[in-house]
Symmetry: C2
């Protein structure tokens, strides 16, 4: 197998059969040693973070599979901290799709003139371009279409899938008394029919979860949850 890409939190290998292997690392995004799922830099390394992220990812991707929601997931090997996935083409040079249930983080930094911290948001979806140099700018449905990244029809599918998956995660967390504030997804086109499917991961590293108003660190979330 060949190393195809070294990311901030995982490495990607191409397998001989055309599928891909994702190796989850112990690095998490953040700034100055503090975890921040929206950050563009590796903020800290936490022993066991890779496997913890993979356990949650496996748990959620298997629920999505049962529900018939398209993802790139094939299977996972917790001991090796690897996940096998179908090949996917990202939109443009990559998008992040955020689903928000409470006003925190970059939402509040942008819309603080109108929103209160912690205010309920009804599965609000926004998209940002993956572009470290330009601080992942937010991008509108019209701009995605005009820039040739995503058609208007594809945007509708993307938004609906985001809310559907966000709600699945929210409900699963709620069963453990944990509240989801926001979650960040990546999508791509998978298979010969280029179906829009969830890719990457669903772990503590890309969500903000709270219990009794207290923020739960990614590693802690995995322990509480599984």
């Amino acid at each position: 197998m060949k190393l195809r890409y070294t990311g901030k939190t995982k490495d990607v290998y191409e397998l001989e059969n055309g599928n891909y292997l994702l190796e989850f690392k112990d690095d998490v995004t953040g700034v100055d040693g503090v975890f921040d799922p929206g950050a563009n830099t590796v903020g800290l390394t936490m022993e066991g973070a890779g496997r913890a992220g993979l356990r949650l990812t496996k748990f959620f991707f298997e629920i999505l599979k049962e529900k018939g929601i398209p993802t790139h997931y094939i299977d996972a090997d917790i001991d090796q901290a690897t996940m096998t996935v179908r090949p996917a083409a990202v939109f443009g040079k990559g998008l992040e799709v955020i689903c928000r249930y409470r006003a925190v983080g970059s939402f509040l930094r942008r819309y603080g003139l109108y929103a209160q911290e912690g205010q309920h948001l009804d599965a609000f979806v926004e998209v940002t371009l993956k572009d470290d140099e330009r601080q992942d700018p937010p991008v509108s449905e019209d701009a995605l279409d005009m820039l040739g990244i995503l058609s208007k029809d594809e945007y509708k599918v993307l938004k609906a899938l985001t809310q559907q998956i966000g709600n699945v995660v929210k409900e699963e967390l709620a069963k453990k008394g944990i509240e989801l504030y926001d979650i960040k997804f990546e999508f791509g086109r998978v298979g010969e029919d280029k179906q829009i499917a969830l890719i990457d991961e669903i772990s503590g590293g890309n969500m903000r979860a709270y219990k009794d108003g207290e923020y739960i660190e990614p590693l802690e979330l995995e322990k509480m949850f599984l």
Copy 2:
């Protein structure tokens, strides 16, 4: 009459009959003495800039009136550098609506990974919140709706009006061999039926215009144009 508001480029007075008087100042927005229609600070003061802006505004608002496009305009007094307008309520704490024909300025700063400088854009509309403290963040149709600033139906009207007015300005400039790259508008709800209407001004200070690939300064534009 009472001074109601002191803005970066104009002062606003309330008249006894309930209408408003806008006094155009000689200040234009920019940074470090260089004009920038997107800037949040007064960059320089140019003798005659107020009257020049008002002349262009009068010219365009009267064309819009003829075409039946709603604005807050009643009349203008060039000598006094004042314009009388109907009262208008802005959306939320104010929006800026940009119509783009070429990729320059903040569009390029955000989407430079996908767009070439000067690339043609087909009357592309984007909205930003007027919020100096948060650098006028871009805001999506969904966010405007969720924050209670503008409904989805109102957004459709706003976008269509923006493109219609942008195209009027673009055509008028083209008659003089001038090309419009982008233009920024403000809208509000005017009259008892709260009709969405163009407010503020249409002048060199809120557009980027080029002749033979050379940028035209706001004061120069007024001279070339009228």
